[in-house]
């Protein structure tokens, strides 16, 4: 009953409604854009919606963030947004996340949701969203305002162009609504364009705004699209991400043989020998597994990602490459043993470590 008016559209139908119900969408920011996007996605029956924002509602927000009531001033935006969306449609799930999006939580969140919607008000977070979407291979629905103009695009959709293909210069500074001023209508219109792209992607109808930047002028109703192509310089691996955002310090990726051997008999630790089977010296450790580097990517399922992986080869070169492969495949606790098997053997002999 609830969705009857959209189900009778041949482009939606029962099947389309099912797709909407199975979709998981993350809205990043519960400000002006988020306040426009959230109620329409919730009402349309997107099955699970995450809304992340650590801000509290202020009186100056209410002119454009129209889902909040005057008596909610001072309360958490994410929690109030959840309350509003559930009172609109109690049959869906809303996850309120009272935090900022940062490099530490972005990857895990993006892996969980299907589509990320940018409702933020700063360029730094837009680059973070873009990079985390590239790493997790998810679509990024971009929307942004400058006074009476708005931009909309869908980045990284089916391997399409990314935000960095359009704006490679990360150091640029552009005014947000606090500095530049904005009408509530403007964020409403642009947020609606974004919600529309989400629904089209989920339903598989129409043309997704991928490889195109839409600019809408609220004062003239002038609407223009600009084509953009993917540039090769924007490829980004998981390891690039971790290094860029300092999720892991580069030095932490290596461990000394002495420190590594403290992990013997620790059930939380797994030693990984990436040498070929015919290489000596053999290091026999109780909690060890051997997968030659050339076979590693095809045999990742043999490794328990919950364990701390200490990787070694003969001298510590191939193991660094193995660490890169593992981090790019979502293993987070990985270190390469400096000096490799030769060093391990020496430490075991001199310290008379009993194995």
């Amino acid at each position: 009953m609830r969705y009857n008016r959209q189900i009778i559209l041949s482009e939606v139908g029962e099947k389309g409604q099912q797709k909407l119900g199975q979709a998981k969408v993350l809205i990043i920011g519960a400000g002006g854009l988020g306040a426009a996007i959230l109620p329409y996605l919730a009402a349309a029956g997107i099955g699970e919606i995450g809304i992340i924002d650590d801000d509290a509602i202020e009186i100056t927000n209410l002119q454009r963030q129209v889902i909040y009531r005057n008596d909610a001033i001072g309360k958490s935006k994410a929690l109030e947004a959840k309350k509003m969306a559930l009172s609109l449609n109690p049959s869906i799930q809303i996850n309120a996340i009272t935090d900022t999006l940062n490099a530490k939580n972005a990857i895990a969140l993006f892996e969980y949701y299907d589509i990320m919607v940018d409702a933020t008000d700063n360029l730094q977070t837009k680059y973070l969203i873009n990079d985390a979407c590239v790493v997790t291979n998810k679509a990024f629905v971009y929307g942004s305002i400058y006074k009476f103009q708005g931009q909309v695009s869908v980045f990284n959709y089916q391997n399409g162009p990314t935000y960095r293909c359009l704006f490679p210069d990360e150091k640029s500074n552009s005014k947000n609504c606090v500095d530049a001023g904005v009408m509530g209508i403007s964020v409403g219109i642009i947020g609606m364009f974004q919600a529309n792209e989400v629904l089209k992607m989920v339903l598989g109808i129409g043309n997704v705004l991928s490889g195109e930047l839409l600019i809408y002028n609220m004062l003239t109703n002038d609407q223009q699209k600009f084509e953009l192509v993917k540039s090769n310089s924007t490829l980004f691996s998981r390891l690039d991400f971790e290094k860029k955002y300092h999720v892991v310090e580069n030095t932490v990726l290596e461990i000394t043989a002495n420190e590594a051997l403290e992990g013997i008999n620790n059930p939380e630790v797994l030693f990984l020998d990436v040498r070929n089977e015919d290489e000596f010296p053999k290091i026999s450790l109780p909690n060890a597994i051997q997968i030659p580097l050339s076979d590693l990517e095809d045999n990742l399922s043999e490794l328990d990602s919950n364990k701390k992986l200490l990787v070694y080869c003969q001298s510590g070169i191939r193991s660094k490459r193995a660490v890169e492969i593992l981090i790019n495949n979502s293993f987070s606790k990985v270190q390469s043993i400096a000096g490799g098997a030769l060093k391990l053997e020496g430490v075991i002999a001199t310290n008379a470590i009993s194995i």
Partner: protein
């Protein structure tokens, strides 16, 4: 004739939404440099499109008469 369109913070600086410029043999980068000087756009960052297509390498892009150039800065409000 060349036509130039300005958006966002760039239009704020130029104080016009667009203008026509007499055509001369220019690369896109040369035109951009001229506009940057004329309107003091140095502090702004923007992408450049010709005939509704974003151009990655403005240095090697030679303009032809009737091209429509757009200066597109990123927006940040939300």
């Amino acid at each position: 004739m060349l036509s130039v369109k300005y958006f966002g913070a760039v239009a704020e600086k130029t104080k016009v939404q667009g203008e026509d410029i007499p055509f001369s043999n220019l690369s896109l980068q040369e035109l951009v440099d001229e506009l940057e000087q004329k309107y003091d756009l140095g502090a702004l960052s923007y992408s450049v499109a010709v005939n509704q297509k974003i151009v990655q390498d403005a240095n090697s892009y030679m303009l032809i008469s009737n091209d429509v150039v757009a200066l597109l800065p990123p927006f940040a409000g939300g």
